[in-house]
Symmetry: C2
Subunit: 412 residues, 2 copies
């Protein structure tokens, strides 16, 4: 993988020109793209900016995010050739920081569950995960140092785990979702993929102008609560193994580690996530569903067919449970700095018929708390498995710092 | 004005065909539009639907809301001729309820402060208010029974007050803002204009499928707290007069009425509303500002110029204050059912150089609570002045019921 922080340092120190840095990504794309298929469209002659902390950084943008200079096709023939007028704010934030948008990355249609043709870079017979398939694969294989994705259930953290990339789903609305195709406005969150945790921190800090997100020199040992999310079912053997490895590494490095129970209302929030998502999706996709029913992606269409009857009363009750659970979860973070849990049930499933299961992600999306995937373990055959570091709402700097601690601990 | 509830009843009882109802609006448009200029573009041959509670209801849509069948120009040459692919969810909600979209209504550019050419129907030398200028004027003059607007500061309640229409700014996110040009994602709220409060209730209920919003047979006397918003400065004489008239009418009708003080943190929230709005607007308009600086509307551009330095820290602090204020305001609603306050400082200002002042509206937008404008008073010369009924977050039915009580009381 290509380290954003490393490129940034070399460019700042004059060891590498911003243009050469972009050219390096272009060469990597030339070497890998044909096999992986992570991009929908690309700028064949991208140019580096001359200023900004992200000058020389090649970025891929998930194709449900509006771009003025590329089509935005949402992974669906309904939007074939569609050209938004404006760049989405998150794209502008990247460009204002000096980044170069080199292309749009594949997305499952409307960021739902119908798979793309993108392959897992670590084993071509497996899914890269979804819905941010192209962004995870492009970073994971080392084509680009940074990519944007989005998560409504588990669409950032899960594919990052499957592709061996670091990723952050920041606090809800730290990054605006304006100009991003909506699935559920209560859940949709823009996230970042990069080679390592420090790279995420540099990328997110440059986008938002928030210096406090940058990695600090000191790395204090965090208090970690291990969460197994029993309400979401059992993990697979490799998922359990990854968490156990990360737990032992963090403990060995000096972190205080304990098993953490979650209040029952939090488990209840896990259960009602689909109610919130489905009710809002009925409205968010109303035009596509009514005007383009036959062209809708089959899995999403089926889900919309089935959830048509979701009532406003059920939705209101679900929203109430989510509010209560957010307050209860906040109290848990008085006892520990971060939670550590599975990023996915296991390694990437074989075949391309499924993008995997978001059951260990969706609670945290509903809670709006920052989540970081840290690659923790590589299965025989090369497939990576990550773990998920979760901090209090708004504590993105804390999530990144603890994730870097775990990442460092895993190196030893 | 044309009463939606009255049309609905006559159509249901077979006294009026849905087509004849639409034709009635077309005739009213032919009679008034030339003088008022409320529409940007119109369907010259609109057709009624045959089913749905809003069949036969002609609706105008503020031109920052995406429509597949009309251009969506945002009041700005930057979007001249722009054709979105999809209808916004709020437009689909109307169409699924059987409404007929007859045209797009004028909006100040990007729903900011640069005025449109639309005239106040009650006095052509005065502003109709903004930013939802066309929607307020079109309903106020009796061209259409229903229109959609949006509010970020005071862009629904204020023009409704100036044009003599009833209007509701529902609870934050009761109506999705997906497909609505963003100014500030924490504040932007879609609202409705109609002839009277019952008309609003029927319209909002049909859009959302929420039967509890419909007017009940009984109209219990509400406990009303009178709020003068001293932190926002003094009202003008006509604004004060309108509130006093409404207060006396409600008291006479049997409501319990008292002066209501607001906690200091709520006043603080009023002060920091611009910080939230400006910080988010920097991101929301990043593309227009960077790529079309010269074509930006001057007042909005000036505001963006001035607020460029708003820091993330100031924004975070403002968000924190807003959260605290929401909790403090919720406690106020344990003592009263609704608050009653000014909808605007006074009657519509003369001339078209300003759309008026949102200082009595912006707090409630930030709090996310439902607000209803009730026309209360007509100044010599014909300009109307409204009052604002405000209920607890999520209590849209309560806000409508109490507003109807005040509206009825004002008739006697």
């Amino acid at each position: 993988m290509i380290s954003l922080a490393d490129l940034q340092r070399r460019i700042e120190q004059g060891e590498l020109s911003a243009d050469a840095s972009i050219a390096q990504s272009q060469e990597a794309i030339a070497a890998h793209e044909k096999a992986i298929g992570a991009f929908v469209c690309r700028d064949e002659r991208p140019r580096a900016a001359t200023i900004g902390p992200l000058r020389g950084i090649a970025v891929g943008i998930k194709d449900i995010i509006d771009t003025a200079d590329f089509p935005t096709e949402m992974g669906s023939p309904i939007y074939r050739g569609w050209r938004p007028r404006a760049d989405a704010p998150v794209v502008m934030m990247l460009m204002q920081a000096g980044a170069t948008i080199v292309g749009k990355t594949t997305t499952t249609a409307f960021a739902a569950n119908d798979p793309t043709a993108t392959l897992n870079p670590h084993h071509h017979g497996h899914t890269p995960g979804g819905s941010s398939s192209g962004s995870a694969a492009a970073v994971g294989v080392g084509m680009i140092p940074l990519a944007l994705g989005t998560q409504t259930g588990g669409s950032v953290i899960r594919p990052a785990s499957f592709c061996g990339a670091a990723a952050i789903k920041p606090t809800y609305r730290l990054l605006p979702t304006v100009g991003v195709k909506c699935f559920s406005w209560t859940l949709d969150t823009v996230g970042l993929f990069a080679a390592g945790v420090a790279d995420l921190a540099h990328g997110l800090s440059a986008m938002t102008g928030r210096g406090e997100l940058l990695p600090g020199a000191a790395m204090p040992a965090p208090r970690i609560g291990i969460v197994t999310q029993d309400f979401a079912g059992e993990p697979e053997a490799f998922g359990a193994e990854a968490l156990e490895i990360a737990r032992r590494a963090a403990e060995r490095a000096g972190a205080s580690v304990r098993a953490q129970k979650l209040p029952e209302i939090v488990a209840e929030a896990w259960r009602i996530h689909p109610t919130v998502q489905d009710f809002e999706a009925q409205m968010a996709f109303a035009w596509e569903y009514r005007e383009n029913y036959d062209a809708m992606p089959p899995l999403l269409r089926g889900r919309l067919d089935e959830s048509k009857g979701t009532t406003a009363a059920a939705y209101d009750a679900a929203r109430g449970i989510a509010d209560e659970a957010r307050a209860a979860l906040a109290a848990v973070f008085n006892e520990v700095d971060v939670l550590l849990t599975f990023s996915a049930p296991g390694a990437a499933p074989s075949g391309l018929s499924s993008t995997g299961d978001p059951r260990f992600n969706r609670l945290w999306t509903l809670m709006g708390v920052p989540c970081v995937n840290v690659p923790a373990y590589v299965v025989d055959g090369g497939l990576p498995v990550g773990v998920q570091v979760i901090a209090r709402f708004g504590a993105d700097a804390g999530a990144l710092a603890a994730a870097r601690y775990v990442e460092e601990a895993l190196k030893h």
